[in-house]
Amino acid sequence: MSRALSQPLVLWGLLVGDALLGATPASALTWFKQLRAQAVERVGVLTVPTTRDEDWRFTDVSPIAMLSFQPARNTSGQTLVDIAGFMLPEVAARLVFVDGVYAPQLSRNDSGIVVANLADAVLAHASEIEAQLARHADFQDSVFSALNTAFLHDGAVVLIPRGVRLEKPVHVLYLATREAAASYPRCLLIAGAGSAATLIEDYRSLSEVAYLTNAVTEMALAQDAHIKHVRVQRESGVAFHIGQCVVSAAKASRYESVSIAQGARISRYGLNVQLCAGAECTADGLALIDGEQLADTHTTIDHAAPDGRSRQLHKCIVGGTAHAVFNGKVMVRRGAQHTDSAQASRNLLLSPRARIDTKPQLEIFADDVKCAHGATVGQLDADEVFYLRSRGLSEQAARDLLTFAFGAEVIERIPVAALREQLKAQALAYTHH
């Protein structure tokens, strides 16, 4: 059943847009206005995908379309004390968005580079942003991406100049606070030639209420740039999360990502990485879900040119009647010789009613390539359980520890120690009965 989005939602987007554009000289932001107008037009045409669409066959998003979520106009006045538990130590910069709205009082930037709110940066860095914003995340065919683009206003902008290597990570915190709110987080990272940085995107909530997050992240890596990206989706357990990240990796650049999905009633994350000649990526993921959750991860690693290298380890731990979906597409285009790609999908079912659908998908149009992939779905290994029991652990404790360890293998790959330890502690609590 397809369903066009409700008209009021679209009108709302235009209202918010006017607020931004009204304050600036009209001519300076013509491109921005046009971009959003195009997206609004697409929103009017596109329909919400149904399970009849191949890409969405396991993920029924009709509950999202049926509820009416309204964007927030302002932040709810949180203070640093309110968000103390959500901060990470030793970051170069922190941007906080509350229900999608930029919260300057909670943000700071000691990085020496541009880490700013889109609504501000779009004026000061217009040409750089214009060249990349919405150039990677297509909104012609995706209603969610079109909606996000139609609502373009606040968002994270990270501009890393050529040759600059940030030691400490940039932390972008998207905090949900209100029931029935819709937020459209946007992030644009532009990495100059030979630059390096680590970006953490963390989606969290202050309370267990239902809301919608519809996020889009775009990254443009110039030659030899090296970006590490950690994405942690720990929304409220009754929330909806649709996220998309599109990365363009220029010659000899490197994109390394770890994404964790443990929150939301229904979540969908799409990662799309395009690799130019000699570019590398790792795209690791962990879905740790229980109860009635659904976590869907769709990734596409597109080897568009020769000598690219990609590595992917995706794991799902599924309990209760939860359902995890992984679709991992690896594309090797004509002429992308000497591509070296390996993908592994490892899945652990903790209950008889849990479900996993995993689909590695290789599309290879070059003949001199190395592409490995494998998928396993199973339960805990009996020999491993026995080993731990022979050391005195009860059967339950042994199972819990092994379940934790299964997930920890992905968490261990997070390059930020504080976040890694925090997530390991969460996973430990989650897996221990």
Binding site: G392, L393, S394, E395, L401, L402, F404
Partner: protein, 265 residues
């Protein structure tokens, strides 16, 4: 060492066990008393490792007959963890890897679980750290073992040393070491054997399951048993191992001399 009138720790009588419906153990007999070191040797497929796993309670093996008493209790009625807590330790031929779990964390968990069972106080991380470092010195282990994930990226020798470290921490009454010598170079073998020797006391016992004689150059057994087709077919002193080494297991299939009385008499 053989001590007169010492307590019987383990008494195995007519033990039979199946895996996947195939009988592997066909009437095992073994008695181990406190203070003793036993070696069980035998060709591949003779049932040595199965015997070790059955004693520790591996759920894949079905016990179909016989009895095993451990410290006076019926071992076969206990869950694997209860056997461990009662003081039985199995050193694995292939210790598992637990990525993401620091070795120190795992060792402390195992240690505290067993200690609590024995009515002793748990150690907090700091106390445990002191305690474990002392034991590690004994095994010439690098302190970085503690921060690394359990056996992940460990070499074969490191994995086995880690097994012996666990044994040192859990302080079992009976340790069964399953092919602990396999895959070890001479240095690692010496260290592992040295650890076992240091841990041997008059009130505990060790059963070494091994294919080769060379481990017995470093740990001198009081008894050597030869297993074949699921039973012990010959028992002797340490010289039996040397004989096996020079003449091979084939020799055993054609016995010329009468079998000596089992040590378990």
């Amino acid at each position: 060492m053989i001590v007169n009138d010492s307590k019987t720790l383990l008494a195995v009588r007519g033990l039979r066990a199946n895996v996947n419906g195939i009988e592997i153990l066909k009437g095992m007999e073994l008695t181990v008393k406190a203070g003793e070191v036993h070696a069980i040797m035998g060709p591949n497929g003779s049932g040595k490792s199965t015997f070790a796993k059955v004693l520790a309670g591996h759920p894949a093996y079905e016990v179909t007959g016989g009895s095993v008493e451990f410290g006076g209790a019926d071992l076969m009625t206990l869950a694997p963890e209860a056997r461990a807590r009662a003081g039985l330790f199995l050193g694995f031929q292939y210790p598992i890897e637990i990525p993401g779990v620091a070795n120190s964390q795992f060792l402390r968990l195992a240690y505290n679980t067993v200690l609590t069972q024995r009515g002793q106080e748990e150690l907090d991380p700091l106390e445990f750290d002191d305690f474990v470092r002392e034991k590690m010195k004994l095994l010439e282990m690098n302190p970085d073992f503690l921060s690394r994930s359990v056996t992940e990226g460990f070499s074969g020798g490191e994995k086995k040393r880690n097994e012996i470290l666990q044994m040192a921490l859990l302080d079992p009454r009976l340790a069964i070491l399953d092919e602990t010598d396999s895959g070890l170079d001479i240095d690692a073998l010496r260290v592992v054997a040295g650890g076992v020797n240091q841990l041997s006391r008059p009130d505990n016992a060790v059963v070494l399951v091994t294919h080769y004689q060379r481990l017995l150059n470093y740990i001198v057994p009081d008894y050597v048993h030869v297993m074949d087709a699921g039973r012990i077919v010959k028992t002797g002193g340490k010289e039996l191992a040397l004989e096996l080494e020079t003449r091979g297991y084939e020799w055993e299939s054609h016995p010329v001399a009468t079998s000596p009385a089992p040590a378990s008499a």
